[in-house]
Amino acid sequence: MPPSLPFIRLVHRNLRKYRFKIGLSITIAILVLSLISQYIAPYPREGLGYVPVGEENRRLLHPSPQHLFGTDTLGRDLFSRVIMASRSAIIQAFSVVFLSLIIGLIVGVLAAYFKGLVELVLNYLTELFMAIPSIVIALFFRLTLEAGFHVVIISLVTTWWAWYARITYVYAKGVVELDYVVLAKLSGLSSAKIIMRHVVGVIIQPILVQAISDLGSALLEASGINFMGLGLPPGYPDWGVILYEGISEMGIMAFTRTPWLVFYPGLFILLTTLGFTLLADPLREDLDPRLRRRWKLWF
């Protein structure tokens, strides 16, 4: 049985919940936006970073019907830029979490299943990479590589996989000693099958839920790196980059004189992150039977 079936059931069970619905709507909205933004953006080329002709006259325009979110320091339409940046957000959040999850899952399960030296070495590596702040990796790449998605994604994945390796390890450790694993070993089932069926199949749900809720953190961290100017190149449609440009170009007084430059991209980051959190929270509660019970102060 594919291990994802219980997960689909879990999602289905939670569809009724209010919070889950909001989270799902936000997530779907951002996903759809990331797909269609280049068709609905009023100035798609400006959204991608093209500086319009006669930009001097269009710099820092206040929000208006022509420019819903105003224009930026180079006279580009902020609305186009912000909605087109949803794609960059989705790409970064999903690829970071997905890649880290895959690597972490493999490392964590192997460390828990094969004891001895394998466990020792993999756990050391996990501990090692967990100890490195992603900003440090981003720094190194910034010094040596061209700016781009790969910088953000690699530097985040380098540290994030260790996080999944650790939680997978903890969950898997609790499972590998259980009798169904022993039974499967005794009947001579291959290790690959045991791992997939009795370890991954059993622990995957809470880890997937964690991954969903981490999508938000990944986005926040990626935006932070872009905001520092360490990741994507200037002009790229990304909320972190837009914020960075807004604040660094206008100096420290940016938000007092041109608040729209700061407000809209940040709002989108907040909304997207919130969407992921709201999506994951009900699932998490559902999975933890202790949280499901009512536990108001009864004595």
Partner: protein
């Protein structure tokens, strides 16, 4: 019961191994990423002095020696804080880093002294009033807080504090004021220094400037700690020992104080530690770009702009070591208050 020395010993050994691993990793990155390591180390120098500078960098790194000697040397230099002169500032790298660290650490500690107790209180309080309006408010609030991009929030806080008071919380302290009152930082933690020297004008000034960025930074830990402690209290209330204590006639307040809270403190410390290291990056972003405070963030940006490679590398390494240090300390504290950890 004292935590066994053995656990601390093992934890420290592991941490040292990790630190060494990180240094080796950074050195390998330095050597094997595109470009001549000596040129990088010298900060991509141009002009007549370039050859000399590169030659010196080559000697400093010992590039003519076998790789294991180079690494050993590099590790030695890291531990003795001897990574040469900063190209941009013309002072020892260690000095640059230390000044940045104290500034950022001051901000972080200040923020966490605010955030952890507040988050803990909110979490416990809402857990004890589950289902109340207060609880659902705190629950929604903590979700929003944890989803907030810190730099954005910092900008908004700065905007608000400017538009309400007309005072921009820029920098760490007014240098004019500091100079006129003869303020003399010793530890580098301005708040502490001012207090020790009885320089209340500077203290107040520094305090006013630290509060807005600290608020921005504390939002994430408040959200996290509140959420976690609410869940922990809720779970603790379901424990068999709470049920049994109720049946024995132990009063509600005693149960909450001695049976429930004692059990949630170690995990809360753990979570706060994790959040703390996460917040370092937050602090670096906010302090430099939003609030214009000098600190690790401004050093990082500076070193990047000025191609001060030594500072960048040193910053990366020491930041990582600090990360590990915090993690280790948190683990040890957590282990020493949990009577069950004895290994």
């Amino acid at each position: 019961m004292p935590v066994s020395l053995n656990y601390i010993f093992k934890r420290i050994i592991l941490s040292i191994l990790v630190v060494i691993g990180v240094i080796v990793f950074s050195y390998i990155l330095l050597l094997y990423t595109p470009g001549d390591p000596a040129v990088k180390w010298a900060g991509n120098p141009r002009g007549p002095e370039a050859r000399k500078a590169i030659e010196m960098a080559r000697r400093e790194l010992g590039l003519d020696q076998p790789i294991h000697v180079q690494i050993a040397q590099f590790i030695y230099h890291v531990f003795t804080g001897n990574l040469g002169l900063s190209i941009a500032y013309k002072v020892p790298v260690s000095q640059v880093i230390t000044s940045g660290f104290t500034a950022t650490l001051e901000l972080l500690v200040f923020a966490y002294l605010l955030a952890v107790p507040l988050g803990l209180w909110l979490g416990i309080y809402s857990a004890l009033r589950r289902g109340s309006r207060f609880d659902s408010f705190i629950q929604s609030l903590s979700v929003v807080l944890a989803s907030m991009p810190t730099f954005w929030l910092g900008a908004i806080i700065a905007l608000i504090s400017y538009s309400t008071t007309g005072f921009l919380p820029y920098g760490r302290v007014s240098y004019k004021l500091a100079a006129s009152t003869g303020f003399n930082p010793i530890t580098g933690f301005y708040l502490l220094d001012a207090l020790i020297q009885g320089n209340y004008a500077v203290f107040l000034d520094a305090l006013l400037r630290i509060i807005p960025p600290a608020l921005a930074i504390s939002v994430y830990p408040i959200g996290v700690v509140a959420r976690v402690s609410r869940t922990l209290v809720a779970e603790a209330l379901l424990e068999d020992y709470v049920r049994t204590a109720v049946a024995w006639g132990v009063r509600r307040n005693t149960i909450i104080k001695h049976f429930v809270l004692k059990s949630i403190i170690p995990p809360v410390i753990q979570i706060s530690g994790l959040a703390f290291v996460y917040s370092i990056v937050d602090a670096m972003v906010v302090e430099s770009l939003v609030f214009g405070r000098e600190g690790l963030g401004s050093i990082l940006l500076d070193s990047l702009h000025k191609a001060d490679f030594r500072v960048t590398i040193a910053l990366a390494i020491y930041l990582t070591i600090f990360y590990i240090l915090v993690n280790t300390i948190v683990d040890i504290i957590q282990a020493s208050i949990d009577p069950r950890v004895k290994i």
